[in-house]
Symmetry: C2
């Protein structure tokens, strides 16, 4: 039995992790500011002994201090979930919600002598790689504020790990999909479903449709983190977390249309390599490091995306993250 804090634990990934940890008998505290997470995601856990929900923010000193009290380990998933930067957005949102929030957490952990931390980083740290698949030892040259601040978090974690004798796991996530992940405008699956529900004859696709990314189902993402935390011990460990292949945006459009029973949908491409400024058009992860721990994704990208489409369309009790 461990006492675990999950930051961002009301989110699409954090809430699945919370259920999983509670089901194996851990005492779980969730800290979430409910800016994108939803308390409904935790409804099933609300009355479970040993489960605790704190509404709060890592940018608030009292929240973070209270959150880390008495825990053995932290899963730090809280972040600005909006990878896209749109003209007019403040340029310090990611700095605040990723970098500074993570520093606040690390400092609170240091003061409370909490030594173990797992962190949800992102494959966005790599930027545009010269070689694919990209491994953990390849250069990280982010091209988005999201990716840049995730890399900042990694670097701060590495420094705290070394200076204060912590044990830390950094997971560079592929695109994580699942039944609670069907955002309008924020994920390609949610985007396509909503657009085709509005107009089944034509689908606008951002970019040239050739963007290709790695996808991982949220259930597998959670299992992989737990597996690595148990089996890859000591110091600072960094893992790409995904499956070995990738999937094109155009193919996802085909899969969504197929699942909705639509034929002859016209695709209209907005053009350009990336979907938005800071988008990495193509990535594929070298997952040999995480596989060397004994974990391997059961679904490939297409299978993970297909499962997420079906869950989004037909429901399975999951509450959508950002409907």
């Amino acid at each position: 039995m461990e006492r675990v804090l999950i930051t961002g634990g009301a989110g699409c990934i954090g809430s699945v992790l919370a259920e999983r940890l509670v089901s194996r008998g851990d005492r779980v505290r969730v800290l979430d500011n409910l800016s994108s997470g939803k308390s409904e995601h935790l409804a099933a856990l609300a009355d479970t002994p040993g489960f605790e929900f704190l509404e709060g923010d890592l940018l608030w000193p009292n929240s973070v201090k209270q959150a880390v009290q008495g825990v053995d380990m932290v899963y730090h998933l809280a972040a600005n979930p909006d990878i896209k930067f749109s003209p007019g957005d403040p340029t310090d949102k990611d700095l605040q919600q990723n970098t500074i929030a993570t520093h606040n957490l690390l400092e609170a952990m240091r003061l409370a002598k909490v030594k173990r931390l797992a962190f949800s980083s992102s494959s966005a740290v790599y930027g545009i790689s010269e070689k694919l698949p990209v491994s953990e030892a390849d250069p990280a040259r982010p091209i988005s504020l999201y990716g840049a601040t995730k890399l900042s978090c990694e670097a701060l974690i590495g420094a705290f790990q070394n200076l204060f004798g912590m044990e830390c796991w950094i997971f560079r996530f592929a695109n994580i999909v699942g039944n609670r992940v069907r955002a309008k405008g924020r994920t390609v699956i949610g985007d396509f479903i909503h657009k085709l529900q509005d107009n089944p004859a034509e689908l606008e696709i951002l970019g040239d449709g050739m963007q290709a990314k790695s996808y991982l189902h949220v259930d597998e993402c959670v299992e992989a983190m737990l597996h690595a935390v148990e089996h890859a011990r000591g110091g600072l460990r960094i893992f790409n977390l995904g499956c070995a292949d990738n999937l094109s945006v155009r193919r996802i459009a085909d899969l969504v249309a197929l699942s909705m029973g639509l034929e002859g949908v016209r695709y209209r491409f907005t053009g350009g390599e990336g979907g938005w400024p800071g988008d990495v058009p193509r990535f594929q992860l070298d997952v040999r490091a995480i596989e060397s721990t004994g974990w391997r994704a059961l679904r490939n990208s297409e299978q993970a995306v297909t499962a997420a489409i079906h869950a989004s369309l037909h429901g399975n009790g999951g509450v959508p993250c950002r409907p």
Copy 2:
């Protein structure tokens, strides 16, 4: 003629850069909060037409806004100069003075449409490399808060460069030495000179004395930056900046003692691989990238250190940075 802002321009490196740019006819504005820089370093420039000194701080919104007005290019050297983290230090000093200060600068540049930025990063971003010499394409895994926040700055610069169409140069400095760089306690040269002036019979050496690092003379550092900015154009360019070899701490002790005319100094080692928590005991830079632009260090590490020792001991008009 360019209009140039130098942040940290009253510092040991920035003030040499300011002199060099003024001497070639540029209009130079210096922003410095004088926390470690000294206005004496700029005394010779004070009445020069086209030279302007602003006392201010990148953490103050008005300072940074005023500083970037009307300039073509920024050399961003302002930083927390204290690489060592000592128990009891706040853990957010580097975050504030490196990461957040750099974000403030980038945002001010964006708003003022200033598109060109050269940044003094550090070889501390690499942490402990599996292979030496370390090249720009090798993984950056900092182990100090200083290194972590320098990497954060790099990542933010990369994101701004991509999102807002900037032209940026990132220089990962070796240890920079010179006539104004003779800090007590902050650089190994100043440390040894002061200790031997106090007690010529015995010298305490942090670590085991086997630490080996690359050194570059400040004059060469400035020339290299100017050379790269002129000859390596377009997008984001990252360069290790140093000479190809390195030099042990024990050898520096020998050189200082020799220059002071001391014989038979007993060395007392505090022990351990690194000199302090977060110290990278051994590094050596792969400098082929900067050399491919046509620049090459004239002095090796020993020659650079020897010149700095002589300047510190015998003076040459330079004002010490942190006496």
